[in-house]
Amino acid sequence: MNEDLFRVENLFISFGGLRAVDNVNFTVKKETIFSIIGPNGAGKTTIFNCINGLYNPDSGRVLFKGEDITGIKPHKVAMKGIARTFQNIELFSRMTTMENLMLGRHLHMKTGILSGATFFRRKSRAALEEIKHRERVEHIIDLLDLQYARNQFVGSLPYGTQKLIELGRALALEPELLLLDEPSAGMNTEEKQDLIFWIKDIQDELGVTILLIEHDMRMVMDISDRILAINFGKPIGEGAPEEIQNNPEVLQAYLGEDELTNAAS
């Protein structure tokens, strides 16, 4: 529980003159939920993109299980055991839910044409592997209550369901670290409530460490073990939920200077 799984050190990245991420540091302990909050455009998703290898940071290091993974290619990051969901859903929209989740298993599939062709039918290595992967995927489908959507094309499913499928696909990768980029965006109160349960479930059942970007403060305060607040790419506070709630800089960033001074006077 107290082991460090993931650490970001002195991360900098700028686009043109804009410092999108400006000296961000944090450490995520194993099997905890760590949230990053901040106003729109604060650089939260940019941090995720740096972790994922979609952006190459100007300086700083990203360490996963003590290993430096800064600047390696996205598919290699996935191989290390880091999965992710996106703010705007990124699914394979012309495939079914099942196929989408099976693609999350892509990394774990070892069969090539040779081993598939050597033995026959159910006894073949390929068939045994396929069965193993399908079991795993069925488990995720059960966990997220996606049975009804199993064989439907994801492009035609409701928004909330698509968000869950994306979460499911990330889980299918069997990650040790799961990056969730605004999982509750666009959901109604009830769906948000369910999502909170699911995230807690996922953590209990699969022992995944979660790094979360979220705007819904109730949800963040409810499930996070630690929170990092950033504004204009700069960290403005880190700590347990209660500490963040009472941090004057965070309040200022969220409520604006005027209201804070009004409240003080």
Partner: protein, 290 residues
Amino acid sequence: MFLQLIVSGISIGSIYALVALAMVIIYKTSEVPNFAQGEMAMLSTFVAFMLLASFGQPFVISFAGALVFAVVLGVFLEFVFLRRAKDPNVLSLILITLGFEMMIYGVASWKWGAEQQSFPFPVSDFDIVNLGPAVVSYLNIVTLLVTLFLMFILFLFFRYTKVGIAMKATQQNMLAARINGIRANRILSITWGMSSLIGAVAGMMLAPIATLDPNLMLDPLLKGFASAVLGGMTTLVGSALGGYILGIIETLFGGYISLQFKSIVAFLIIVLVLCFKPSGLFAKHYVRRV
């Protein structure tokens, strides 16, 4: 006469279908219509010709050699030129393919000259079978069979192999494919290799009917492109069907209306399709949510 025209239409349609497939495979992964497709096929056909005529190799070795050359050529172009493009947009990638087109055309003209060679082929266009009132040559039959076989293999490939599924995933959403552990760059290389291979098959099936010179694929490329637009640039099956439809319409037009204006049909079709069903006859229209 009608049946005869249909037979010829299907035969030339097979070539268009192959070119269309080759274009669509690349277009689907990178949204780039590859204008060098024809010249790549032409060059591979010349390699087969060189192995046959200059080195006296048997057909099997020459054709296999040309196909291997085609794959290497496709992967080479993608790896050496396209991948080096810095933050490319679609237009600049298209311009790069136009550059390839000119480069390859130049190389072929320099090496083999503009003179027209006859391409030896194991199956003759003059051995024929009577099919009711129509006449079908062995070459027609082989062309059709080879095309159908290739399509079947492609179908199996995209449906059942790990690389095929990874390719399909990359085509639908490259970002999601990458973060799920698929090497998108390698998939692009494979795409180019495959596409070049299919194009080379089209070139080698066409060369015995036409004559082999650097302009071999000029017309088929445009027709293949028209077929792909007709069937839908995003569907493999649709673009292949588009090839057959175009082939048949074109020969019927040539037979009944005007032989001189036969070539115009393809472009008329492009214009009509773009006006009335811009995503193609067989493509579902997908709009990406922004």
